[in-house]
């Protein structure tokens, strides 16, 4: 985080209890002001004021802090540094670069002075795109920097700025701190640099919000086909431990068609974060073949790191996402997990001795969650040129005991418009992604209808048909669990077989198989169409007197089994073949049956 000069006031430590400090003699302190506590200068934020007494949450370990030590206000809120150099970085919850901390301090996180978020020495090649004398207002592009091979970083005038360009730097190499333009404003002269700062708790402004009519394709069949997410949308993934939340978020991160990914590990496991940190730089981007890290920012706040950083990490990630949105990019932000974040709120609230709400969570839990999800959206940005960008939020929830009625899940699903419910019983039989198709939903389907119709005109019918057969099987299964499967006739067994095919050949998707892990929307469409076509024909054949056994013995069923591992570039061809083969084999079967009957 950036240290900014401001009115410096000194108070003193009155009390320390865990990550929570009370300071006295703090006149003029403001809510969410950044303060430095003690001789060690640990960072904290003011979270409550009473007269001249301030309650502070510390972003670092407080062991050893004594009463009477000084507390210095910086006069500024907790802010992020925005500029080239963010991409590919790994930060902690308050934007400290973890790789550089390792260089300086080794493998354990120690208290003390930390390197700035953006490297002050690195030079970037800047191409100005504005001229002297031009009028400039918030969000205008001053110039560009190629941040990574995948991301052109547009240097934006800070949203609050307005004036006339007096001077602009020539094309050349600059550090983030160098002045690249000077602006005459009504208040005087302002210097523009490659970087600027923005308070993390304040949403960045935009010009207008756009309807959610473009899907954020995820490459996951069950999501793209049944519970789609839109660009700028919000989704909650909920499931007890072991239901595959983390793997699913990682699959989404790898396969979603967003320009930029921001992953927040909020109170998560160190070893899993290590896996992300180790594997992401090796992963290839599906579209460009470049390392995925060239368009990814990781925020790692593991469960053993200070709790206040966990609370801040979510806001920091949002601000970074909004910054890239303002450049005109589609950003996907995945937070794992928002329950850990809510628990951080609860812990801080408990220390403040606030009146607890449901299950000890503070009464403002719902409004904080609402503030978080309200920062998603597809927008047209500030600035003179037309740009649209989006921030899509997917938050994982870890309900205690897998109980969906608990406050964090309850409040979240009121706010998000897509709900992916992960299910223990699916996970136990290693059916992944373990998204329960009865409990999950997407409210974006109507808004996305036009888009889907372009992929296949019968999308809606397929979706409804698939859901109907899944439902029918569920009901039959209840009957069977009472009386056994033996009483079923071929017609009902046909339903069972269709659902088995849907589950095994379509819904089941491996996150590790090189081909299966990413399923393009066209392939998803045709796979679903073929399976339902088989069901349709099977039902018809059975109605006409063919035995189900004969239908299931058709060799085309084998082809359906293997569809998921057919490479997408070959799939169009393969799907045509399967479709024809299906027609031929069923025709043959019906002919044989007719013959048998007439004979």
């Amino acid at each position: 985080m950036v240290e900014t000069s401001g009115a410096r006031r000194k108070g003193r430590v009155f009390r320390v209890a865990g990550p929570f400090i009370i300071a006295k003699d703090m006149p003029g302190a403001r809510m969410y002001e950044l303060v430095k506590v003690g001789d060690a200068g640990i960072l904290g934020e003011v979270i409550r004021l009473e007269g001249e007494t301030a309650a502070i949450q510390a972003h670092e370990e407080t062991t050893g802090i004594r009463t009477g030590e000084k507390v210095v206000g910086t006069g500024k809120p907790l802010s992020v540094e925005l500029g080239p150099g963010l991409m590919g970085q790994i930060y902690d919850g308050i934007q400290r670069p973890l790789p550089r901390i390792q260089e300086q301090f080794g493998a354990f996180l120690q208290r003390g002075v930390v390197p700035p978020a953006l490297d002050r020495k690195r030079r970037w090649s800047f191409h100005p795109s504005i001229e002297k004398g031009a009028k400039v207002s918030g969000g205008d592009v001053i110039g560009t920097v190629q941040e990574t091979p995948l991301i052109e970083h547009r240097i934006l005038a800070s949203p609050l700025l307005g004036g006339i360009i007096e001077d602009v730097a020539a094309e050349g190499e600059y550090t983030v701190a160098d002045t690249i333009a000077e602006v005459r404003t009504p208040q005087g002269r302002d210097k523009l640099r490659l970087m600027h700062t923005w308070p993390i708790r304040q949403p960045r402004p935009f010009s207008a919000i756009l309807p959610p009519e473009v899907p954020l394709l995820t490459g996951q069949r069950i999501i793209d086909a049944f519970f789609p997410l839109s660009k700028g949308g919000t989704a909650a993934i909920s499931g007890g431990f072991g239901t595959g939340k983390t793997v699913m978020l990682q699959s989404l991160a790898r396969c979603a068609d967003a320009d930029i990914l921001i992953l927040v590990g909020c109170g998560e496991r160190g070893n899993e974060m290590a896996d992300v940190v180790e594997s992401f730089p090796k992963l290839e981007d599906f579209r460009s073949g470049q390392p995925l890290m060239n368009r990814t920012i990781i925020i790692a706040n593991t469960s053993d790191m200070p709790i206040a950083g966990r609370e801040a990490s979510i806001y920091m990630a949002l601000t970074l996402a909004e910054y890239y949105r303002d450049m005109g990019y589609d950003v996907a932000l995945m937070a794992d997990s928002t329950s850990r974040w809510a628990e951080a709120l609860r812990e801080v609230s408990g220390r403040l001795e606030e009146m607890p709400g449901e299950e000890g969570y503070p009464a403002y839990l719902a409004s904080r969650l609402a503030e978080f999800y309200a920062r998603a959206g597809r927008v047209s940005t500030l600035g003179r040129e037309e740009r649209t960008g989006s921030v899509t939020l997917a938050g994982a929830i870890s309900p205690p005991g897998g109980d969906f009625s608990e406050p964090v899940t309850g409040n979240t699903i009121r706010l998000t418009r897509v709900f992916w419910a992960l299910d223990f019983s699916l996970a136990h039989r290693r059916h992944f992604p373990a998204i329960n198709w009865f409990m999950s939903y997407s409210e974006y389907i109507p808004a996305l209808a036009n888009w889907y119709e372009k992929v296949g005109p019968d999308w809606r019918r397929l979706r409804e048909e698939a859901m109907a057969v899944l439902k029918e099987e569920e009901e039959l299964r209840e009957v069977v669990s009472l009386v056994g499967a033996e009483i079923l006739g071929d017609r009902q067994r046909c339903v069972f077989e269709a659902v088995k095919m849907l589950k095994e050949y379509f819904l089941l998707q491996s996150a590790f198989h090189p081909v299966d892990m990413q399923c393009p929307i066209n392939k998803t469409y045709h796979m679903l169409r073929l399976i339902l076509k088989f069901y349709d024909k099977a039902r018809q054949a059975v109605n006409e007197g063919t035995s189900l056994g004969q239908v299931l013995a058709l060799s085309v069923k084998e082809d359906l089994t293997r569809m998921k591992i057919v490479k997408p570039e070959r799939f169009d061809e393969v799907s045509k073949e399967i479709s024809q083969k299906m027609d031929t084999q069923f025709d043959q079967l019906t002919a044989d049956t007719a013959e048998g009957v007439s004979a």
Binding site: T67, I90, T246, D304, S481
Partner: protein, 474 residues
Amino acid sequence: MSSATQASRTYSTVREVLGPLLFVEAVRGVGYGELVEVTTPQGEERTGQVIDVSEGITIVQVFEGTSGLDTTKTTVRFTGDTVKLPVSVDILGRVFTGAGKPADGGPNIIPEDYWDIHGLPMNPYSRAHPTDFIQTGISVIDGMNPLVRGQKLPLFSGSGLPHKLLASQIVRQARVRGEEEAFTIVFAAMGITTEEARFFRDDFTSMGVLGRVAMFINLAEHPVIERILTPRIALTAAEFLAFEQGMHVLAILIDMTNYCEALREISAARMEIPGRRGYPGYMYTDLASIYERAGRIQGKKGSITLMPILTMPDDDLTHPIPDLTGYITEGQMILDRKMHKTGLYPPIDPLPSLSRLMDKGIGSGKTREDHKQLSDQLYYAYAEGKVIRETALVSGEAALTSNDRLYLKFADRFEKEFISQGANENRDIEGTLDLGWELLSALPESEFSRIDPDIIRKYHPRYRGGNEGDRIVG
């Protein structure tokens, strides 16, 4: 405040004694987390730690308990230091109290260094992801939920279930394949009975591994608040052995339920607002500060593999202790009472059990290329078999289809042959996987939707049968 003299840091201003806590008045210049020496009116020395400082009241938790303390004669000395453990390789082969003092009649440790028992959070960027498969020789673990070095994998047990026997079998058999070096064991006991402590000690002795074990024992009759220290002390020792001495440490913490009870007791004494079932709202963070000390560090040889054992109150998986533990650890092994009652050992139910790090530790070059897909298929088949078993219970086996009957038979054999094994039986991973194939081969091949056709052709007994026949002839 370093200029403060010894005398000025000694106070006899105890205002209140409440549960395990002392409330001391008018204390100046004391740091949060500081180590405290408490002298009872009888002259007995105890230790404590500052858990809240303010200009008004400073709160000290006393590890040995507060019985006998008063508000007039008790004195409190603030040491200006945090709680530290003397570390040395000499701790191996020794037994300590839950507070880290020698308990075997042996001499004090001559320390190489003093380490803060709270440790520091590991930089997630510096961690190395665990990838070395540990062969425990137990099929249901190795085949279905393999453990890797640097993982934290708890045993969720219940009272009366054989978690001790299982833990001891794991200690005895666990090896990283291709490496001779056995694990160094750090054993921390919190609130277990003398009987249980003796079981482990005798067991380590009979295995001949006592020289590689450091034991930290807080028994049921020992001070409750000491349990707050025990896992931290043990893990500090583990960190020293792993990251300073390059050893591979297997740390066993038993029983975390007792630890959490102690945490709740302190929280209640502080009159904090309770979270679920009276446990403090910060229990997740507190448990994380213990469990997250497992792992590997890039560029360092050693590792800490952590196996906390906890007894679920009332076998309830959603109780806050197993629940929060499960959200921090990388999976869990669940001991099932029903399986135990039918005489199965080890009674690990593979369905709700999970090892989150298995994918990186298995496969070709680690175990065998078919491992992942085979285990997925076994999972599916066993889950299916169990559902069918329920149906058969209600409507009788006659109501099952022929395919259903195959699954039912599979589930029975899977339990009797794959899960079940002797407490001294050590199966290698190839044996475990081949056994899995053998059981699966009773099902029609068209059911194997989780296995690639190439893998089926390579490992399915039907295709390998020819080779075996050759061998018999040859």
